[in-house]
């Protein structure tokens, strides 16, 4: 399964990259599992160190138990502070 991952704001800064495309093993099936897999296998420790991280699947806010599908765009970011 191929997933496009995006990072924003302080998380992007901590990781030093705005996004990446990853090929996932079959065992990584949810947004939460992706977060852990990126932190542990992908060297993106800030993903599990960051407090109160939010995520979006295909540009809609979602939780960390959301199932993934091939071609998804998954974004991780800190709580929003616009307005």
């Amino acid at each position: 399964m191929r997933i496009s991952v995006l990072y924003f704001a302080s998380l992007k800064e901590a990781l030093g990259v705005g996004g990446e495309t990853v090929e996932l093993p079959a065992t990584v099936a949810t947004t939460g599992a992706l977060r852990n897999w990126l932190a542990n296998s992908g060297g993106r420790a800030a993903l599990t160190e960051a407090q109160a991280l939010r995520c979006a699947r295909n540009q809609r806010m979602t939780g960390f138990d959301e199932p993934l599908a091939d071609g998804d765009e998954i974004a991780f970011f800190p709580p929003v502070t616009g307005g």
Partner: protein
């Protein structure tokens, strides 16, 4: 309905005039403008940069506006959110709601702002004397957004 994410400034008078032009069923026009302050959390702020998630920011604003329209019988809602670098005194965000009566116009305007603050993917990075810092989300904003959920 109009939703814009842009670097350019906006003219509130022009926006409001466009919303009511030729619309004689509108009896109330409520609006809110958010501005950059020169002080935040006890620290001087020389300016800020607003980052957003292109695509999702517009979608999130559209979803919030659709939710407002499902809750109140309003005629029109307009949202503008600026991105990029802004200086103290600059306008950041504009929300306006046109309706027959003030009750729904005020309520929908406040609702859109409260949900925008917690659901639309924008982030502020402030320039302070101690260096740049990302603005942290406030629990008071979560409380303000949650009160609209518990009303259901």
């Amino acid at each position: 309905m109009s939703i814009r994410v842009q670097t350019a400034d906006f003219d509130v008078g022009h926006e409001l005039a466009e919303m009511r032009r030729g619309r004689f069923e509108i009896g109330a026009l409520a609006s809110f403008v958010g501005l950059v302050r020169d002080l935040n959390d006890g620290c001087g702020v020389a300016g800020m940069t607003l980052e957003h998630y292109p695509g999702m920011a517009e979608q999130a604003l559209a979803d919030i506006v659709a939710e407002a329209r499902s809750r109140w019988p309003v005629s029109d809602i307009r949202v503008i959110h600026r991105v990029g670098r802004l200086a103290p005194g600059d306008q950041i965000v504009f929300v306006a709601v046109a309706g027959a009566h003030r009750g729904e116009a005020f309520a929908a305007c406040e609702f859109v702002m409260d949900w925008l603050k917690t659901r639309a993917p924008f982030w502020k990075r402030e320039e302070t004397p101690g260096g740049a810092r990302w603005v942290e989300a406030k629990s008071t904003d979560d409380d303000a957004a949650t009160r609209w959920v518990s009303k259901d």
